[in-house]
Structure formats: C-alpha cells, structure tokens
C-alpha cells in the first residue's frame, strides 16, 4: 500500500475483559486500507489469526466501538480510527 505523505494510515484496535483475555492482546495497530474499511472487515481479518481469535470475535454478544462510540458491524472505519471489541458492560 502506498504511504500517504501526511496523516495517519493505521487503525488502533483495543480489546477488553474476556475478549482481551481470549486473544491475549490489549491493543494492536493495523495498517489501514480500503479492504479494512468496515468493522466487519477488521473482524474477518483478525479472525484469520487463529481459533482463539475467531472464537472470541464471534462471541454472540460482542460489542464494537469506533472512536469510543458503540456501533454496528457495518460501521465504516477510516485511517486514524480507534476500534474496540468487548463483551456487554457491567459497571456500577
């Protein structure tokens, strides 16, 4: 992929709670491309990393957030975005 002269060309992906534990990763950085332009596409690419990843990312109640906002899997991702995967929240 051709690097842009200015601006970010990566997306940051964070994992929390039992999803973080399942993939043994708190955070990673992916090079952004048009083939990684939706949450669903990022999930598909990460799921290829192995069974632990595909199982965790197919968690039936998985929630995804883009730039700290909960979104649907069809949500678009742009370069510089922060994506997060986590189970239902249990605060308070």
């Amino acid at each position: 992929m051709e690097k842009q002269v200015s601006g970010e060309v990566t997306i940051t992906v964070k994992f929390f709670s039992l999803i973080r534990e399942a993939v043994a990763t708190e955070q990673l950085v992916l090079e952004w491309s048009e083939s990684l332009s939706t949450v669903e596409q990022v999930k598909a690419v990460l799921s290829e990393r192995g069974e632990a990843w595909s199982t965790a990312l197919s968690h039936p109640n998985l929630i995804q957030a883009v730039n700290q906002r909960v979104v649907f899997p069809e949500e678009n991702i742009a370069d510089g975005d922060e994506l997060a995967f986590f189970p239902p929240m249990t605060g308070g």
């Binding site: 964070k14 929390f16 709670s17 039992l18 973080r20 957030a65 700290q68 906002r69 909960v70 922060e82 997060a84 986590f86 189970p87 239902p88 929240m89 249990t90 605060g91 308070g92």
Partner: protein, 151 residues
C-alpha cells in the same frame, strides 16, 4: 470522572452540597458486595476503557441534566482492584424538586450499568469469574427507552 484511587463518598457529597445548595439533592453510592449468588467474594477487579468511560459518563450526566432539568450533577466511578466494601461509584444530582433529583439519580445508575465501559471480575475460592449482565439490569435500562418511546 473515572479514577483508580479510593473514592471518599462523604467528602464528594460534602463538596457537592457546598457547591450546589439547591432545593433537592440526591446522592447514590455503590459498594463492592461481599457475596454473589453462590460464594463469598474476596475482591473485585474492575476493568475500564478509560477514554470511552470518561466520554460516556459526561454524556450521561448531560443527558440526565437535560431530561430532568438538573441544576448540577456529578458521577465518579472507580476502576482497578477493589476490596470488598470499597465504594465503586458515586452519583449526585441537584434539582429544584425531589422528584427530578431522585429520578435523575436512578436514570444515571440504570444507564451506567449497561452503557459505561466497565467490566467486573470477581475473585472467590481461588477462582476469577467475569460478571455477566443481569436480566434485571437490562430491564431497568429498557424502562428508560420505553419511557422515551411513550413520551
């Protein structure tokens, strides 16, 4: 705000009363419980997506202020490892009348439980278990959505 430091609810309440001496103030404090459905809890680990939690709690306070005509509000939520009986969350709401102050406090807690990015993991009998969302918490959250639809 979110913090990994011990919360002092008494001090937070006193500061809130001093700054916002309105007609009606409600406060709520949630503590780490020493039991779950089956066992004695030894401690609680509260994981937090700090950047998102700060944003969600601010927007939740603003939504409560708008919905219940609050004069002021404060939400403080702890994260990290907490011993049993440590305070987890402090909420204060201030309004002209008690109904709005009570309702706003309840609204904030009901929404916070399912919408703020915190995850509880309990330790007991040398086991650690992630807490799952209770049906009653989902129901309480849903009540506010249904009220929105009805209004």
């Amino acid at each position: 705000m979110v913090t990994d430091q011990l919360i002092d609810p008494g001090q937070l309440a006193a500061e809130f009363y001093a700054r916002h001496p309105h007609a009606a103030v409600t406060t709520f404090v949630g503590f780490v419980r020493d039991f779950n459905e089956t066992s004695q809890v030894e401690d609680l680990f509260l994981e937090c997506y700090v950047e998102m939690a700060s944003k969600v709690l601010t927007e939740l306070g603003e939504a409560a202020a708008s919905r219940f005509s609050l004069k002021a509000w404060n939400i403080v939520h702890r994260f990290g490892t907490l011993p049993v009986e440590d305070p987890i969350v402090f909420v204060a709401t201030s309004a002209d009348h008690r109904a709005e102050a009570f309702s706003a406090c309840e609204f904030i807690m009901d929404v916070l439980k399912t919408d703020a990015p915190f995850w509880k993991r309990e330790r007991f009998d040398d086991e650690v278990v992630w807490v799952t969302v209770k049906g009653s918490d989902k129901d309480r959250r849903l009540r506010w959505v249904n009220k929105d639809k009805a209004s």
